[in-house]
């Protein structure tokens, strides 16, 4: 190459300088008087109510801590990102939270697939991550910096198997799984084994892709297999449509599922067709314990709606983190990790939280049903 003209050289020099200056801006800019906590949630998109509810819960907890003077002499700054309920987004936004915003810990997500996408980033950077509500067993196996404050599907699957057998008196169950969701695939597997071991029979197994609108093909095949009940371990948007189309096809047996159902949108989309369905979840605002009622009151005062399980778990995840910061007396990654893993008998609104050696919480579950367009408490199941 020939030597460039001086003009071009000058332009190149300016560009290089600009690059140096701009990359300087890229460093984490944590103020000395605040602790930065990152949160990622599905604030919009398919599972928007999950993200909004868990975000409100998290925000409420952080505000309470700050109002009481903060932690370690500093205020907490909650930096949150929306992943739009899309696969591919969590990895990006969590990278941004850690490397650009300088988050010392990450809270999120509800959907297992999206938590599992963000987990490797947190693990590599030695930044503790606490998922409020992802129940897929594999999540916390992804690294020793990954925690959750909810029960796992190993427990949820077993309790649903017992529920189908005892309460629904169902021997023949059909399953309709969302193959795109780690949560759905995991939960249907964790239901299958204990149910079959108990003498139950799976008469039909059909799948769909999350976001599908038409389920009549699968449901007609399920109807032909004549089940006593149908397990739909999916998320509420899809479940609402499934319930609608099942009833349209004249399927009258009960539908049941897991905590992915918990959203007011389920009733909005499903209408009268979701009446008499059952699902297991983490929390019921109807519980009379003072801890729960106090939380429900505070949440309603701030957001003018009744909190659900995702809100309660978001609240608990933030409070478990702050509690660990207090005990660790630092926000340094490895030490904070050790403190979180030592969480024992923490009084959460979703029950006492003790994290086991696999970084999972062991907690009771509740079963809810839909009656007169509202969620109604049925029973509590102990682990």
């Amino acid at each position: 190459m020939k030597t460039k003209s001086p003009q071009i050289r000058r332009i190149l020099l300016v560009k290089c300088l600009a690059l140096v200056v701009l990359s300087g801006c890229n460093k984490p800019v944590g103020g000395a008087n605040e602790i930065r906590v990152g949160e990622f949630a599905s604030l919009t998109g398919k599972e928007a109510t999950f993200g909004q509810m868990s975000h409100h819960g998290t925000e409420l907890a952080i505000d309470e801590v700050n109002d009481a003077g903060g932690v370690l002499g500093k205020k907490i700054k909650l930096l949150y990102e929306d992943d739009q309920s899309k696969q591919g987004e969590p990895a990006t936004v969590v990278k941004k939270l850690i490397s650009r915003d300088g988050a010392v810990a990450v809270l999120g997500e509800v959907a297992s697939s999206r938590s599992m996408e963000a987990a490797p980033t947190c693990q590599q950077n030695k930044i503790p991550m606490i998922s409020p509500a992802s129940t897929n067993v594999k999540l916390t196996e992804m690294g020793d910096y990954i925690f959750r404050v909810c029960f796992t599907d190993a427990f949820q699957g077993k309790l649903l198997a017992n529920f189908a057998k005892r309460t629904l008196k169902a021997n023949n169950v059909a399953i309709l799984t969302d193959t795109k969701s780690d949560y759905s695939v995991g939960l249907s597997r964790d239901f299958n084994a204990p149910f079959v071991a108990n003498g139950g029979k799976i008469v039909a197994e059909q799948v769909y892709n999350g976001g599908d609108k038409d389920f009549k093909g699968q449901l007609t095949a399920i109807k032909a297999a004549n089940p006593d009940a149908i397990l739909v371990p999916g998320y509420y948007t899809d479940v609402g449509l499934v319930a609608k189309q099942a009833r349209q096809l004249g399927i009258i047996v009960p539908l049941f599922g897991g905590d992915g159902w918990e959203s007011s949108k389920l009733i909005e989309i499903g209408g009268s067709e979701v009446e008499g369905t059952y699902f297991s979840t983490h929390f019921s605002p109807e519980e009379v314990s003072p801890v729960v009622q106090d939380f429900v009151k505070k949440f309603q005062a701030k957001y003018h709606e009744v909190p659900d399980a995702m809100a309660a778990l978001g609240y608990d995840s933030a409070r478990v983190l702050v509690d660990a910061m207090r005990r660790a007396e630092t926000v340094d990654g490895p030490k904070l990790r050790d403190a979180i893993s030592a969480t024992k008998d923490f009084p959460g609104v979703t029950g006492k939280i003790t994290l086991d050696e696999k970084r999972n919480a062991t907690k009771p579950a509740v079963i809810l049903t839909v009656k007169d367009g509202k969620f109604k408490y049925v029973e509590t199941v102990m682990p």
Binding site: G45, D214, T220
Partner: protein, 302 residues
């Protein structure tokens, strides 16, 4: 046996919506020789118009009444027709005499623009919305086969629109002009046909059908979001190609075939591969009959 008939009905109901969307693709292709990829998004806008218009029309005509449903349908068809004409005027007309590839890429750009503007918090937002119940649905039992009144309605509306379209294209002056432009645009222009008017009309008509498809789809699957048009749009495009692109009865047939295949595969052991199998069938048919099921094997002059 009843399972077979049930699946057939499910497939017909789904396929007739694909058919409605496919008609828009095929008409634009027939007249302009290009694929309007923003068509699926006009379908989405149609559904959202229905969402916003239903409470208003409900106040005037009484909720859940047939007049209200009809009003919503006609109004959103009109709005989408105008949107289609506007898109053509702003995005496609300036490129009409440019290479075909430029228009095609522009169409993809328009499609993405509508999708992401729709997701903006000030527009439709990215969260799914629940489509209101336009008319109460009832179930009819024919032996073990269940037929919902919604499905009958979808089929009826599709047939009415199809027949109406065929009449417009075959019997009216505008239809004759459309066919003339499709046959040979420069010659038609020399005969005194105003190309701009014919092309605008074609876009308007196609977009109105997409809006009708959007509302029927939302009545059947009452959860709507700004990206809802992508998959049905793709399937309808496939249907149009399958039936022979540019051919109106072909698009209708293609839609029904795709709908039925999808439903049957959905109810089999391979439900995971539902979309893959319907597209594989497209490839197979095109291998043996490249011009589609009803397409004329015309030789393009090079």
């Amino acid at each position: 046996m009843s399972e077979f008939f049930q699946q057939l009905i499910n497939g017909l109901a789904l396929g007739s919506i694909y058919a409605l969307i496919a008609l828009g693709y095929t008409m634009v292709y027939g007249v302009l020789r290009f694929i309007n990829f923003a068509h699926g998004d006009i379908f989405m806008v149609g559904a959202f118009m229905g969402f916003y218009l239903t409470p208003m029309a409900g106040q005037v005509f009484g909720p859940h009444s047939l007049a209200c449903a009809l009003m919503v349908l006609v109004l959103s068809m009109l709005i989408c027709a105008m949107l289609g004409i506007l898109i053509e005027r702003l995005a496609y007309r300036p490129l009409r005499n440019k290479p075909k590839l430029a228009v095609l890429i522009t169409a993809i750009g328009v499609s993405l623009l509508i999708e992401y503007v729709g997701q903006h918090p000030m527009v439709f937002t990215a969260s799914p919305k629940t489509f209101p119940e336009l008319v109460h649905s009832r179930n009819f039992h024919l032996g073990a086969v269940v037929l919902s009144s919604n499905e009958v309605l979808v089929l009826a509306v599709t047939i009415v629109l199809l027949v109406g379209l065929e009449l417009i294209v075959q019997k009216t002056k505008m239809g004759t002009a459309m066919r003339a432009v499709s046959f040979n645009a420069p010659a038609a222009a020399l005969m005194g046909i105003n190309l701009d008017v014919v092309i605008s009309f074609t876009f308007g008509l196609g977009s109105a059908l997409a809006a009708a498809g959007g509302i029927l789809y939302a009545m059947k699957y009452p959860s709507i979001d700004p990206l809802m048009g992508i998959m049905p749009g793709l399937k309808a495009f496939t249907a149009a190609v399958l039936g022979g692109i540019g051919n109106i009865p072909g698009a209708a047939l293609g839609g029904l075939v795709i709908g039925i295949v999808e439903t049957f595969v959905g109810g089999s052991h391979w439900s995971n591969y539902r979309d893959a199998i319907s597209f594989a069938i497209l490839i197979l048919i095109l291998l043996f009959k490249p011009s589609g099921l009803l397409g004329k094997g015309e030789i393009e002059k090079v």
